[in-house]
């Protein structure tokens, strides 16, 4: 029977495109037979009777049908469960670029492998119990990380950074729950519970949660990319600036559903930050772009932007439309790009622009000022605060949602403790919800934890 996790999968483990090496990974119960069918070792005995585990073996991949040699390769066999996916695994390190990698992959499929879906090796590692949920999510992010900062945050997640942050938090909640439960189940014997102390402990837990959530708010751009919206009236050179900025900085990122269809969006690595550049010109056929800008504001896209990049034409006097656009973006984090610096200037920025406005003079045509602009956009889009430190932890969207519910429940419990009519059984309900939400983040949490904590902390029993 063909069970969901019972087939053998294969994929190119290195990025497609030209490169020095292509790694083909095969994982599943038939990984070894497939590997043995394709790989011809230089030393015939290195596969006899079984391949040596975790050695890089030298040899060639040949097409079992035709006997044709495909490439000279290094090949490694790994035995379950001590592999990334927890299954039997074979990795073939082929020499050359995409064509060879693709050919070897096809040979694997011909041997009965299925092409792995995105993230499927990690999924198997999670299902095999090697990674917990936060770690699995971190791997997904690490793989998708397009900038070094993003990779750093993902790596912290992989090392259990978030899980480690949650340990003292869970401890505090368990402590509070244990006190409340002891009060309910052993009222005669528990007389030394300090409610102010409990409320204080919950207050600290709430602040910790707030910090994790606001850290996410601040660092979100490093994980998910900053949204930078290009705007300005027609003919100021938005599109050429858009393309110039992308240039070599174009980043390979997965497109987000729902965004590419209604806007021109491309990602670029600007100042160490993945920015998703949105060109509003692609949004509407309306000739009145300022009106379009208003429409955009109403739609909330600009409202969600981490940065507005307003383009103005330095070679022509400011128009009414320009002024309207300046007004429309005045409340947002923004940078003004004063384009067409290759032509004689028609106005004086320092006099014409509002006082705090940050502007950078560029020429999309000549490429002048673009590096400076890119750096400024990246820094401004990332918002205040330094780059993430090694080991810093940021919650994913899913984790943040659960942490948010946890925070609400902790606040309710703290409120209940402070209230004049303290209802322990209801505070307990809130704390149980808080612990359950926390458990959703890292998959930890067992029903007996609270009871164990009661016994550790109180002398109960007649």
């Amino acid at each position: 029977m063909n069970r969901p996790e019972h087939d053998t999968i294969a994929a190119l483990a290195t990025a497609s495109g030209p490169g020095g090496i292509a790694v083909i990974r095969i994982s599943g119960p038939r990984a070894w037979p497939v590997g043995r069918a394709l790989f011809r070792p230089s030393h015939a005995d290195s596969l006899q009777p079984q391949p040596s585990v975790r050695y890089l073996l030298h040899g060639h991949v040949t097409d079992p049908e035709s006997g044709e040699t495909v490439d000279e390769v290094l090949c490694a066999f790994f035995k379950a469960p001590h592999t990334y996916s927890t299954e039997d695994t074979v990795e073939i390190h082929a020499h050359a670029g995409p064509a060879v990698g693709q050919r070897i992959l096809e040979l694997c499929l011909a041997q009965g492998c299925r092409l792995a879906r995105p993230g499927e090796f990690t999924r198997r590692a999670y299902l095999g119990g090697r990674l917990d949920l936060t770690q699995a999510e971190a791997v997904a992010q690490l793989i998708a990380a397009s900038s070094r900062n993003e990779a750093r945050l993902a790596l912290a997640g992989l090392e259990g950074g978030l899980r480690d942050e949650l340990i003292p938090l869970r401890q505090a909640l368990l402590q509070a729950a244990a006190s409340v439960e002891a009060l309910l189940d052993f009222p005669d014997e528990v007389d030394d519970i300090s409610f102010p102390e409990l409320a204080q402990g919950l207050g600290q837990a709430a602040r910790k949660l707030e910090a994790l959530l606001s850290q996410r708010q601040r660092r979100r751009v490093y994980r998910e990319g900053a949204v930078v919206v290009l705007c300005g009236r027609p003919n100021v050179g938005k599109s050429s600036l858009f393309n110039r900025l992308l240039g070599s900085r174009r980043a390979l990122v997965a497109s987000r559903p729902g965004t590419t269809r209604d806007a021109i969006e491309e990602a670029a690595l600007l100042g160490g930050v993945v920015c998703r550049l949105v060109d509003t010109a692609g949004l509407t056929e309306s000739s009145d772009e300022v009106e379009a800008l208003g429409v955009e504001l109403a739609r909330g896209r600009l409202g969600q932007a981490d940065l507005a990049l307003l383009v103005l034409d330095l070679s022509r006097p400011l128009t009414e439309e320009d002024r309207a656009a300046l007004a429309a973006t005045s409340g947002l984090p923004r940078i003004l790009a004063l384009n067409k610096a290759d032509l004689p200037p028609a106005w004086q920025p320092l006099q014409a622009l509002p006082e705090q406005a940050r502007f950078i003079i560029v020429s999309a045509r000549e490429g002048r000022g673009l590096d400076e602009l890119a750096g400024a956009v990246g820094r401004a889009a990332a918002g205040p605060g330094a780059e993430p430190k090694p080991g810093e932890v940021v919650a994913s969207a899913r984790q943040a949602e659960a942490l948010g519910r946890c925070l609400a429940a902790v606040r309710a419990a703290a409120g209940g403790l402070a209230g004049s009519e303290m209802q322990a059984e209801i505070i307990s309900l809130d704390l149980a919800e808080a612990l359950a939400a926390l458990g959703e983040v890292d998959g930890q949490g067992a029903p007996d934890q609270v009871i164990d904590a009661v016994f550790e902390n109180f002398c109960v029993g007649k």
């Binding site: 095999g128 009060l183 209801i426 309900l429 029903p447």
Partner: protein, 639 residues
């Protein structure tokens, strides 16, 4: 017509403690022919430890047993000598009833009820071994070689299996003080492949009342208006009510214990069995909570005519001479005479993870287990299991589907699910914190939760059903009225509220919403609106139910949503014969656990300790696929 014993009983119950009696009665009331086998017919339903029934969370179990037509609540109501509702300072969900009962009268009445029960035969014998036929339990053989045949057997062996009593460093074999142990049965269970483990429990010394100076000690009385356990009992209680006395351990007590720890069998390494953390010996309390200077001790009369006092709070297995010094260090007990020493007892339990949700063993078909043999402690936990095992056995004998209460229905459901799913490493006691849906699983609504089910099963007789039906109707009618009556913020209404010390209304409210206010009771509402006057004649139980419902209305809603989510997983059935070996993606540890417990559904699987969310995802995927496959197979047949 004389009652004729059958050739083959439907059920033999081995052991006549609280599990055994409840089980035998329930099975007989379901129409089965039952034989209750016990060492000593004079020790039926003995209160080996505390002369009390109920207590926090245990009161919930007693009320649920009652709602299902069991006997424990009625028996406690008739023989109770002090009734208290615990936790009254907290919300109604955690109110729990506790009664001290007369330890001579409680067993006597239970024996009378058993003797009068049609279809129930009492036999004084040692059930030495099980008869096994075709891989099924087929009866028992007594110490006299008598073979008693039955279609099912229920073991409720309490502390008797390989029981060993410890007092100081001396030890001897006993089922409890004054009764022999049951060793042969334990050997046979081991041979049959049962996973037996040792547990330990302990009890306090009993004191001669005449040797105590009680007049100096503070007294603790029961409630002025005692509440009955049973939904059928009408109070005030029949027996005279008595008080307890409160004393405390002193610095001298603690010093004495520390000085003699080397003679405590637990600390001297003589006991291998695991004790319960919630019921520590006084030795444990002094060692583990060294900074606590004193522990309360309640001096409880064992009965109206029983001359002994039960000092609640000092279970001990120290040598007798140390026990004596220790007791005499308590104020009021300076001259105390120990009439019966405290002791620890070790006994065999059988791993409850080997049981199905109906408490039938997977090791031997037709064999059911209930009570301490499953690792629990407490009369109430035992009785609850006895009742469920009887239901399970009768349904099995009749070829009916097994029945299990789930965690959202009853504390009994929590109890059984905890045992069969998670097992237990220490004597298991019920706590309200074990129940996820505590706000809905209350003592007061046990009948509303369970009596209809009891009726369906055949455990609820006509009288109980009629009483229950009237109450339920009255509650529903009154609640509808309370929800419909709108109270407007008129001057006269607000005057009425002011007279009650309640804040004036600012906007119209339903009467039910007004009842939610803290301190508001139904009685207060009657004069506020002419339609509400009709609620005047309602009984106290009904009024209380309305008040509690108003109190928890939003929270119960929240719990209902949680229950709905809980039920989703609970409804994903796992085939009994699922081949876990062939399921890829499970670690060996998880696989072994699943094979051991054989969860009935996905929810239960998730509660097995060590079954990770990832493993659950694998299982869920597989079940999903199985369901799809069987669907397509069915579709194929139709075509």
């Amino acid at each position: 017509m004389p009652m004729q014993a059958p050739e083959v009983f439907d059920l033999i119950v081995v052991g006549a403690g609280h599990a055994g009696c409840e089980a035998a009665l329930a099975a007989a009331r379901l129409g089965a022919r039952v034989c209750l086998v016990t060492f000593n017919l004079d020790h039926l339903a003995a209160l080996s430890c505390n002369p009390a029934v109920g207590g926090l969370a245990k009161g919930h179990l007693v009320r649920e047993i009652d709602a299902l037509g069991g006997e424990m609540a009625l028996n406690a109501d008739r023989t109770g000598i002090q009734f208290r509702l615990l936790n009254q300072g907290k919300g109604p969900a955690v109110w729990s009833s506790r009664a001290q009962v007369d330890m001579d009268l409680y067993p006597r009445r239970m024996r009378r009820v058993c003797q009068e029960q049609e279809g129930l035969w009492l036999l004084e014998a040692e059930a030495r071994s099980l008869m096994v036929k075709d891989g099924r339990a087929a009866g028992v053989v007594t110490q006299r070689g008598q073979e008693i045949a039955a279609k099912a057997v229920l073991l409720t062996t309490g502390t008797f299996l390989r029981g060993v009593i410890h007092i100081g460093l001396s030890q001897y074999q006993a089922g409890r003080m004054g009764d022999p142990p049951s060793n042969a049965l334990s050997d046979q269970l081991k041979e049959l492949g049962f996973n037996l483990r040792r547990l330990k429990t302990g009890t306090t010394p009993r004191l001669d009342r005449r040797s105590l100076d009680l007049s100096r000690l503070p007294r603790q009385w029961g409630d002025a208006q005692p509440r009955a356990f049973s939904f059928l009992s009408r109070f005030p209680p029949q027996l005279p009510q008595v008080c307890c006395w409160v004393t405390r351990t002193t610095a001298a007590t603690h010093e004495l214990i520390r000085a003699n720890l080397d003679q405590a069998p637990m600390y001297a390494g003589r006991i291998t069995g695991t004790g319960a953390r919630y019921c520590p010996s006084i030795e444990d309390k002094v060692v583990r909570f060294a900074d606590k200077e004193s522990h309360q001790v309640f001096l409880e009369p064992q009965g109206l005519e029983n001359g002994l006092i039960y000092p609640n709070g000092i279970p001990t297995s120290l040598p007798l001479h140390v026990q004596e010094l220790m007791v005499r260090s308590l104020p009021g007990c300076e001259q105390a005479f120990i009439a019966r020493p405290g002791y620890a007892i070790e006994y065999d339990m059988s791993d409850p993870q080997d049981l199905g949700p109906d408490l039938m063993s997977r090791k031997l078909a037709g064999l059911f287990l209930a009570g301490q043999i499953n690792g629990t402690s407490g009369y109430e936990e035992a009785a609850a299991q006895g009742l469920m095992a009887a239901i399970g056995a009768v349904r099995w004998v009749r070829g009916e589907e097994p029945l299990a209460l789930d965690r959202s229905q009853a504390y009994i459901g929590v109890l059984v699910d905890d045992l069969v799913t998670r097992g237990t490493l220490e004597p298991y006691r019920m706590f309200t914190s074990r129940a996820e849906y505590r706000l809905s699983l209350r003592e007061d609504n046990a009948d509303l939760r369970l009596t209809a089910l009891g009726r369906e099963l055949g455990l609820v007789d006509d009288r109980r059903w009629a009483v229950f039906g009237r109450k339920r109707q009255a509650i529903e009618d009154a609640w509808r009225l309370l929800s419909e009556v709108r109270l407007n913020p008129t001057a006269s209404l607000n005057d009425g509220l002011a007279a009650l010390g309640s804040a004036p209304l600012k906007r119209p409210l339903s009467a039910a919403e007004l009842l939610r206010r803290p301190g508001m009771v139904l009685k207060n509402l009657l004069g506020l609106h002419p339609d509400l006057a009709s609620l005047d004649g309602l009984g106290g139980e009904v009024a209380e139910q309305l008040e509690i419902r108003a109190h928890y209305v939003g929270y119960e809603e929240r719990e209902r949503e949680q229950v709905a989510r809980f039920r989703q997983r609970e409804q994903v059935r796992i085939p009994r014969d699922l081949d876990y070996e062939s399921l890829a993606g499970l670690s060996r540890e998880v696989r072994e656990k699943l094979i051991k417990v054989r969860p009935a559904n996905l929810g239960q699987a998730g509660r097995i300790s060590g079954v990770t969310p990832a493993a659950l995802a694998v299982l869920s995927l597989h079940l999903h696929r199985l369901a799809k496959e069987s669907q397509s197979v069915e579709a194929g047949v139709i075509r």
